[in-house]
């Protein structure tokens, strides 16, 4: 029952906000809906944790240890982003960037987007997963073009077309999967349920599943933003409103990776080989390298962190591809800490560009002198995301590195090269922005510091000490994904 509640709140919220429109309390309703969703997902997580089994809701929705932890992150980050977006969008309004009508649209679509992502995570049906993924894209394209500047419209169009093409490949993969499953499970919706598919994965036709995986890889890989399919991502992240960038980067990429990993587990079960994993490793390492070298030549702050997201998604994909309990554990942890850190970075980057009146990094100066929480927030975020201790990203990257040295030692230099280049690039670009004298025309704006504080606090805590329930959780999820 809780599971339906988790999903229902955001859907009801979307409809409600469409009617409320641009009233003064609309942002509060937005925050409240996200908070209720978050609370419900925590309850759901406790239920799963205590019963230690899969919970079903009428065959349509299901929760196991893998998707429940992503559900909690998704609802948590969407809550803090709603909190952040209140002040941020208020300021954008004062600047005249968005009007009456677009604010209504923004709030309704925000909740619809959250709903679509939760549906991807919780649905038991591979076909419905595809539909929800497409819905998530459709809900966000018009959010990316919210400001209607030429570059925003261009970014949104690119996002719409490239993800449309990508996701069509994933639908072809789904058709192939159904073709194979139908022979074992019979025709009808039953043949598309994760719970059934996992149970019979050993008897599915391996060649067909491998072919299906190729299509899933290209399809969902486009949404994860893996190189060379990543072209839409930096544009969409840099041109949309900052709260949208934060949820796109922190959540949507995770959700797409979730779909890919589920498919991989299924294909591994059918083929019994490591072929699917190898493909993921290839895409992962390529993304790490392409993204880290692209970081060096960025001029726009949000665009730079978008490339950093590609790099980190590459790391997680690479780790899932490696397989094995340690790498999978590391990948799960990495998904979590990246999501928290990157959304915090986008919050501070958004505030910094509001203060400076520009997203260009050369025009952002002396943040610490100007507004120390924003400056330090950005600095801490960059320290965390580049994988320095004591933050959580260090822990996950260290685990993944250990697994790489053990299982694929020949890839270790490439992996380390990517990390080092990204480290150098991010530091070189961030230092002048945070330290030094503030620009003369720097504005003072009202900022809610709570979201960044919450996120960075959690990332720090995760780096120092992993609570036992979380540890158990990751272990069960890793076991779930590595069973052959």
């Amino acid at each position: 029952m809780t599971i339906a509640f988790v999903l229902g709140t955001s859907l009801v919220g979307a409809i409600l906000l469409a009617f409320i429109g641009d009233r003064r309390f609309a942002p509060h309703v937005n925050i409240l809906c996200s908070l209720v969703t978050f609370a419900a997902s925590v309850v759901l997580a406790l239920e799963v944790y205590n019963s230690k089994s899969v919970i079903l809701w009428q065959d349509l929705l299901f929760v196991d240890s893998f998707n429940v932890f992503l559900t909690v992150i998704t609802s948590f980050v969407s809550f803090t982003t709603a909190l952040f977006s209140h002040r941020y969008m208020e300021h954008e309004r004062e600047l005249g960037k968005v009007g009456h009508y677009r604010m209504r649209f923004y709030h309704a679509m925000y909740q619809l987007f959250i709903f679509a992502m939760l549906l991807v995570l919780l649905t038991n049906n591979v076909g419905v997963l595809w539909i929800a993924m497409e819905l998530a894209t459709l809900a966000t394209v018009l959010l990316v073009s919210l400001y209607r500047t030429p570059s925003a419209v261009e970014a949104a169009w690119k996002y719409f077309i490239l993800c449309g093409v990508g996701i069509a490949q994933a639908l072809f993969g789904t058709i192939l999967l159904y073709f194979a499953a139908e022979k074992v499970l019979g025709a009808g919706s039953n043949a598309l349920l994760w719970t059934n598919l996992i149970a019979v994965s050993g008897s599915l036709e391996p060649t067909v599943l491998m072919l299906a995986f190729m299509f899933f890889m290209v399809g969902y890989g486009t949404k994860v933003g893996l190189a060379p399919l990543h072209n839409w991502l930096p544009d969409a992240h840099s041109e949309g409103p900052t709260p949208v960038s934060a949820v796109l980067s922190g959540l949507l990429l995770n959700v797409a990776l979730y779909a890919l990993v589920r498919c991989k587990a299924l294909v591994d079960g059918a083929t019994g080989t490591h072929q699917a994993g190898n493909i993921m490793m290839g895409f992962g390492i390529l993304s790490i390298l392409v993204a880290s070298f692209s970081l060096l030549r960025q001029k726009d702050i949000k665009r730079m962190f978008a490339y950093s997201s590609i790099e980190h998604m590459g790391i997680a994909t690479f780790a899932f591809g490696l397989g094995g309990p340690i790498a999978t554990y590391g990948a799960l942890l990495h998904m979590m800490v990246h999501s928290l850190t990157k959304s915090a970075i986008f919050f501070t980057a958004g505030n910094a560009s509001q203060m400076s009146g520009s997203q260009e990094m050369t025009r952002i100066k002396g943040l610490i002198k100007g507004n120390s929480p924003v400056g330090w927030g950005l600095m801490m975020g960059v320290i965390a995301i580049t994988g320095l201790p004591p933050f959580g990203v260090f822990a996950s990257e260290f685990l993944i590195l250990t697994a790489t040295m053990k299982d694929a030692p020949y890839l270790t230099p490439l992996f380390l090269l990517g990390l080092a280049v990204a480290f150098a690039a991010l530091f070189r670009k961030t230092m002048p922005m945070v330290f030094g004298r503030p620009a003369e025309n720097q504005k003072t704006i009202r900022i809610s510091h709570l979201p960044v504080l919450l996120h960075m606090g959690m990332v720090l805590a995760l780096g120092v000490y992993l609570p036992s329930f979380l540890n158990d959780w990751f272990h069960t999820a890793a076991k779930l994904l590595t069973v052959r």
């Binding site: 497409e134 073009s145 209607r148 030429p150 093409v165 072809f172 067909v208």
Partner: protein, 222 residues
């Protein structure tokens, strides 16, 4: 009563017509004519689905055929027609560079599709198994349309042709996906239609034309 063999033959003819329209979309320069070809493709797809439904005696395929007929033959072409009239571009002609080489790439994609689907063709027992390659070709050709075309409207037609290919693939590989999925996909396409409608106007007002060649701001600068 139609024999299975005759039905399979008719279906093959329909498949080849779908492939022909896919190539037509690739090289037709007039937007209005392209829209017509797209509607024809939808019609062939719908007849083929109904035929498979009749032979295999599966009721849900009729629903799917009806869905295709309304959506792909009437609703979507009508929306697009409305948009191109409203935006006053229905007479427009698009320059396509190097039609022969585009055709050649298209043919290579068809061969690739046949190659990729070979294992499935061998495994399947369905009457429609030989058309799966055509379905994948339609998807690939739709993708090619989106790559070589530079106008927003033509890219969208390519996108929708790709969806046609996917529906066709579902029918030929498995006699259609479960109803929930087909309805959901149809709904997504419909939402997408409204979104690109809004987009056309946004692009038009920000760029003064629907030519995507104008969009060159977001590139990596050195």
């Amino acid at each position: 009563m139609m024999t299975a063999e005759l039905a399979a033959r008719i279906n093959s003819i329909l498949a080849s017509l779908i492939l022909l329209t896919a190539f037509g979309l690739l090289v037709q320069r007039r937007i209005y004519a392209m829209l017509n070809i797209f509607a024809w493709q939808g019609l062939f797809l719908s007849i083929s689905t109904a035929l498979v439904g009749y032979v295999s005696n599966l009721q849900h395929l009729y629903v799917s055929a009806f869905l295709t007929l309304t959506l792909k033959v009437f609703v979507l072409p009508y929306i697009l027609y409305y948009l191109i009239v409203k935006l006053n571009i229905w007479r427009e002609v698009e320059e396509i560079v190097n039609i022969p080489s585009t055709m050649l790439i298209g043919i290579l994609l068809v061969i690739l599709s046949y190659h990729v689907t070979t294992p499935i063709r061998e495994m399947s027992v369905l009457m429609t198994r030989s058309t799966l390659a055509v379905a994948l070709s339609t998807v690939m050709l739709g993708m090619l349309v989106m790559i070589v075309r530079k106008k927003a409207v033509t890219q969208i037609i390519g996108f929708l042709a790709m969806e046609n290919g996917l529906f066709f693939a579902a029918t030929s590989a498995t006699y259609g996906m479960p109803m929930v999925v087909e309805l959901g996909v149809a709904l997504d396409i419909l939402i997408a239609a409204f979104i690109f409608g809004i987009f056309f106007f946004q692009i038009r007002t920000t760029f003064d034309s629907l030519d995507l060649g104008e969009m060159e701001k977001l590139k990596e600068h050195d």
